[in-house]
């Protein structure tokens, strides 16, 4: 085999492997199922876990707690609706649709059994390291378990279905006719933010009332970065820890399956909201504006001029 032929074959095989990662995710979006999901995360602030019912219907994920609460969350492409106690909160958004999973490739696949059903365990590598293990239901292509790993190979989060059915009769309905104008991405990107950070690419930026929201993705994990002149408040009842990092002080809150980091930087408030494992979060945040503390006059200026 000539070197050129070998190179062409390698390129073809490489691209097919990359396409497989996208393929697993895209095919799973077509699956329809319902079950009970457990999220269990080992975070630097302790373990965080959550149990709720989960369904995927017509491309939308629906989460709720059966019989215990009337909160329902429905996530469909470009919309995220929460219904709680009769109140509806919705976010509508548009953005770049092409996915870029080039950071990941398939390391290995194994035939396994999960919840008594045939399944395939797929290991995703990021720069040669195992970062994600997907368990894919063979009959439906639904992703029934996702284990994400920290940089040292230890488990970060385990999302797994405890039951599985294709009978969707118990899925609560959510009004899909949410009125509102979807946020549109803007061309202007905040100068303070990099185009790429620790393998995460800046995909879209949106204008907020007093700031911006920039969305980064590495093809699997993702994070929104908020820059705003307004103070940022954590929801009531959420555990928030003060963290002294190498570059300054942060406020941090881990929830099952998500993490939020917030700090002040040169008169602005910054927040990162995402699902990154701790080591990737540290590497990502290290490339964002560093924390800084305003002095007395800085605080007066901030109060007067935002």
């Amino acid at each position: 085999m000539s070197p050129i032929t070998a190179l062409v074959l390698a390129l073809i095989m490489g691209s097919s492997v990359t396409a497989d990662v996208d393929g697993y995710l895209e095919r799973s979006a077509e699956a329809e199922f319902m079950g009970e999901q457990l999220i269990s995360c080992d975070t630097p602030d302790g373990s965080r876990s959550s149990v709720f019912s989960l369904a995927q219907v017509e491309g939308a994920a629906v989460a709720w707690v059966a019989g215990a609460d009337d909160t329902v969350v429905r996530m469909a492409p470009g919309s995220n609706v929460t219904v709680a106690h009769g109140e509806v909160e919705a976010a509508l958004i548009e953005g770049t649709l092409e996915t870029d999973a080039s950071v990941y490739n398939v390391g290995s696949t194994d035939e396994v059994e999960y919840l008594g059903r045939d399944a395939r365990e797929v290991t995703l590598l990021r720069e040669g390291e195992e970062r994600v293990v997907l368990t894919v239901d063979a009959a439906t292509d639904a992703i029934v378990r996702t284990v994400t790993l920290d940089g040292d190979g230890s488990r970060y989060c385990d999302r797994r279905l405890l039951s599985f059915t294709t009978d969707l009769s118990g899925v609560p309905s959510v009004d899909e006719t949410i009125e509102g104008v979807p946020s549109q991405p803007v061309e202007v990107v905040p100068e303070d933010l990099p185009d790429e950070a620790a393998g995460f690419e800046l995909v879209d930026t949106y204008e907020l009332e007093n700031g911006t929201l920039s969305y980064y993705s590495d093809g699997f994990f993702s994070a929104g970065v908020v820059l705003t002149s307004r103070p940022i408040s954590f929801p009531e009842g959420v555990d928030v820890s003060q963290v002294e990092g190498e570059r300054g002080r942060y406020r941090r809150s881990y929830q099952p399956g998500s993490v939020t980091l917030s700090w002040q930087s040169a008169g602005e408030n910054v927040a990162v909201i995402g699902d990154l494992p701790p080591d990737l979060l540290d590497a990502f945040v290290a490339e964002l504006p560093a924390p800084s503390t305003d002095g007395f006059f800085g605080r007066i200026w901030q109060r007067l001029f935002g």
Binding site: F52, V65, Y206, L213
Partner: protein, 134 residues
């Protein structure tokens, strides 16, 4: 990109030259940072304008008026500095702090954006107020 901090005040005061006005209009249509700065200055000025007028203390004006030459200027400059400091302090105290952004709203937007990525719904969805434990 060069920002226009030094011209924004003149622009808002109507004291910018036509060239500067054109420059600001063109730049702010492209620069998010300067657009936000312009809005912040404008909001702050509106807040300062809404403050009550401060009366000078009784006796200060007659003293200033009767004092001769240099002393009169010093008194006036002192009074002006004190009034300005008072104004800034009052503005800092009475200007309401900007309303905080609730992270729940931001998380919802990030979730909506993440849901545009194929297959991510079940992988990213979180349920606030669900059965959560430590």
């Amino acid at each position: 990109m060069t920002h226009l901090d030094e011209v924004l005040s003149a622009y808002l005061d109507g004291e910018a030259t036509p060239d500067e006005v054109r420059r600001v209009d063109r730049h702010t249509s492209e620069c998010l940072q300067c657009r936000r700065r312009l809005r912040a200055i404008s909001d702050a000025r509106a807040a300062v304008r809404s403050l009550p007028t401060l009366e000078l203390p009784l006796g200060l004006v007659p003293v200033a008026e009767t004092a001769p030459g240099k002393r009169r200027r010093v008194v006036w400059m002192g009074a002006a500095a004190a009034a300005l400091a008072g104004l800034v302090t009052a503005a800092a105290i009475f200007t309401p702090a900007p309303e905080p952004i609730d992270l729940s709203d931001l998380s919802r937007q990030v979730g909506a954006r993440a849901a545009l990525d194929p297959g991510s719904g079940p992988l990213k969805i979180v349920l606030p107020g669900g059965l959560v434990g430590e």
